[in-house]
């Protein structure tokens, strides 16, 4: 095993799949010679050539539409949207086109496309770089939305996404890119999409999170332990479709839930999961399900970012509320 940052694990996954399947193509803005603005594709063009790893003109809708066309020619495209806030430009290609291709063609065509994009706050980016827009795509049936929380999972989930025959949106939290290293197996492996992971077992409360918030939830759980509160932490890993089986099993055990997301409160993943829990397990609940989220404003300007973003203290506060309900 090697110690890798998440960005290294992602490069490793891309290299693995470029080697594995000659139909895998990696392209986007600055991913070629420059190796991507975060260096996720570093060295790949040199290793696999300009035919497999290449720069495109700067136009997200063009990148999205081109991906569908390449998929129709039997390729397995892995395009990069440079920052996820730019996805609005490609919304028709993603939600209106690739997510609907299998449905529209009555199962005769499909779009095995993995769109990668960095997202997530706390790294002081300009506007429209950090926004958590996963809820927009999660509302669209026909595309999976995957968000890894650790380097090891990033590799396994990304390889699984590239091998999936349906479109996958793979979101990479910028703050996690280089914040820590993790043991990552050097061989190839996959992690099943649509399966949540119990990151920490506990019996008093279930904290559900994804992306960078998994780490805030784990930090909160460590603090809570000092006060004899034993929190279970679930990492969704795939936010569409959601693994309700793992969640319900946990709710039946702990009877209390706090949902944590970096995105704003209204609509979105938290609202969906909480509705599902109350439909499926309301009699197992000892307290209302509380949410830790950002407020319903547009993403904060840098100077207000730290307060705007939820953190482990907000989680601890909500957990105490559901425990003491």
């Amino acid at each position: 095993m090697a110690q890798m940052t998440m960005i290294q694990a992602i490069t490793d996954a891309l290299r693995t799949e470029l080697k594995n399947d000659e139909n895998v193509l990696i392209y986007g803005e600055d991913v070629g010679q420059n190796g991507g603005v975060f260096r996720a594709t570093e060295g790949l063009q040199k290793e696999f050539g300009e035919d497999r790893v290449f720069d495109t003109p700067l136009a997200e809708s063009g990148i999205g539409g081109m991906s569908i066309g390449l998929a129709l020619q039997g390729y397995r495209p892995v395009p990069e949207i440079q920052f996820f806030g730019f996805v609005y430009e490609a919304m028709d290609s993603i939600n209106g086109q690739m997510a609907r291709l299998r449905y529209r063609s009555g199962d005769t065509l499909h779009a095995p496309i993995t769109i990668r994009a960095p997202f997530g706050g706390g790294v002081h980016t300009p506007e429209l770089h950090a926004d958590s827009l996963e809820g927009l795509i999660a509302q669209q049936p026909g595309i999976k939305v995957v968000i890894p929380a650790t380097p090891k999972e990033a590799k396994g989930l990304l390889i699984a996404s590239i091998r999936d025959n349906d479109p996958v949106l793979f979101l990479e939290h910028m703050k996690l890119y280089r914040s820590f290293r993790d043991e990552v197996p050097e061989e190839e492996y996959t992690i099943e999409l649509g399966k949540a992971d119990v990151k920490r077992e506990g019996k008093d409360v279930t904290i559900i999170a994804y992306g960078a918030m998994v780490h805030s939830a784990l930090k909160a759980a460590d603090e809570l332990e000092k006060n004899d509160i034993d929190a279970e932490v679930i990492d969704l890993r795939t936010v569409s479709p959601v693994d309700m089986e793992t969640i319900i099993a946990s709710v039946q055990k702990t009877n209390r839930v706090v949902f944590v997301q970096e995105a704003q409160r209204q609509a979105g993943v938290a609202s969906h999961v909480i509705s599902e829990i109350q439909e499926r397990a309301i009699l197992h609940l000892e307290a209302p399900i509380l949410r830790v989220t950002a407020p319903d404003t547009v993403y904060a300007f840098t100077q207000a970012e730290e307060v705007w973003l939820p953190d482990h203290k907000d989680i601890i506060e909500k957990v105490n509320q559901v425990i003491n309900f």
Partner: protein, 360 residues
């Protein structure tokens, strides 16, 4: 500076072979087509005109759903398609069902598409086409992708796509021609300029004098063609195809045409935005009348031949609509099963729910 500015304007002269009386005005560019080819082109145009008339009637009877009339655009649609090979990939807009039919789509499936049944879009493997696109520019960026893929695969084939004059206002239009140009991809972008995007005239759509000149911005070849002249459209597309497979890159073809009917049958009334004079002016340019005159002068066409084609079309339509009318209705459970390769848990649950609902 004045002379520099004056030189900026590009001249896009309309390319024509037959004039309105069916007389050859451009012998040099006459395409190399056999008498049988010429008759086949006419047969297809007559067939599609009859299909259009019958589709309008069927729509009024409530036997078809969404339908975008094609009368007036036959030369543009079928002349361009006639220049293609089976291996070429077709990405049509919503009005481009005629090209799909001549690419091999059974008529009853075209009717099922119109009636809103997914089997209308279920194409057999190796049928190189997408179903008609509703978003007016999306097929353009996808065509660029198909063409880039063809180039990577080393195929000697092209991707062809269609939109209207309104479609050229979409950002996707420019992104697509720019991508295809940058990658030197074998794509043919056809703009059927029928002069109205629903009700908005092309003069309000753009300040550009031609739509063909938009090719200049992307650095690709562009040409404006008389879209009522089937031989000109064929010749321009054939030329574009040859360039594409020779590695010379994409072409933008603007065809000047006219839809005689409304935008769609969904309540559009062209008398609100078109004058009778304008309609009459364009009717004189009817591609069928013009090409019929040309063929009659060559003794290749007669009323008798045409009547035979009309009867054949009517027979085909009758059988196809019968098949479409009696085709098993689609179910929600089938839609659910077509969302992903494997059903995730949420859809498994919903499948059970709808199985029960549909069994009642």
């Amino acid at each position: 500076m004045k002379h520099v500015l004056e030189n900026v304007e590009n001249q896009f002269e309309m390319f024509q072979i037959l004039d309105e009386n069916g007389k050859v005005v451009n012998k040099d560019d006459m395409p190399d087509l056999s008498d049988d080819d010429l008759k086949e082109l006419m047969r297809r145009m007559v067939y599609i005109r009859i299909l259009d008339q019958r589709s309008m009637a069927l729509n009024r009877q409530g036997r078809l759903g969404f339908y975008a009339p094609t009368a007036g655009q036959e030369a543009s649609q079928l002349g361009s398609h006639f220049a293609l090979e089976k291996g070429d990939f077709l990405l049509p807009g919503y009005r481009d069902v005629p090209q799909l039919i001549w690419h091999g789509l059974p008529l009853y499936q075209a009717f099922l598409f119109s009636k809103g049944h997914y089997h209308g879009n279920q194409f057999p493997e190796g049928f190189n086409a997408l179903s008609p696109q509703i978003i007016i520019g999306a097929q353009y960026t996808q065509a660029a992708g198909v063409a880039i893929g063809m180039k990577k695969r080393g195929k000697k084939s092209v991707a062809i796509t269609y939109t209207g004059d309104g479609g050229t206002s979409q950002g996707d239009f420019y992104e697509a021609i720019n991508f295809a140009g940058a990658f030197g991809a074998p794509a043919i972008f056809v703009v059927q300029n029928n002069h109205f995007a629903i009700s908005v005239p092309v003069e309000k759509q753009t300040k550009a004098k031609t739509l063909a000149q938009k090719a200049v911005a992307a650095g690709i070849e562009g040409i404006q063609v008389d879209g009522m002249d089937v031989l000109a459209v064929y010749a321009a597309t054939k030329h574009a195809r040859e360039r594409a497979i020779n590695g010379e890159g994409p072409t933008l073809i603007e065809t000047l045409t006219y839809r005689f009917g409304p935008h769609t049958t969904a309540g559009d009334d062209p008398t609100r935005y078109r004058t009778e004079e304008l309609d009459n002016e364009w009717e004189k340019k009817d591609p069928l009348v013009r090409f019929r005159k040309y063929l009659e002068d060559k003794n290749l066409w007669s009323e008798e031949i045409e009547n035979k084609v009309i009867e054949e079309a009517k027979d085909d339509i009758k059988q196809a609509i019968k098949k479409a009318d009696t085709y098993p209705k689609q179910k929600v459970t089938e839609l659910i099963s077509h969302m992903f390769e494997e059903l995730p848990a949420n859809l498994q649950e919903q499948m059970e729910e709808y199985k029960e609902k549909e069994s009642k």
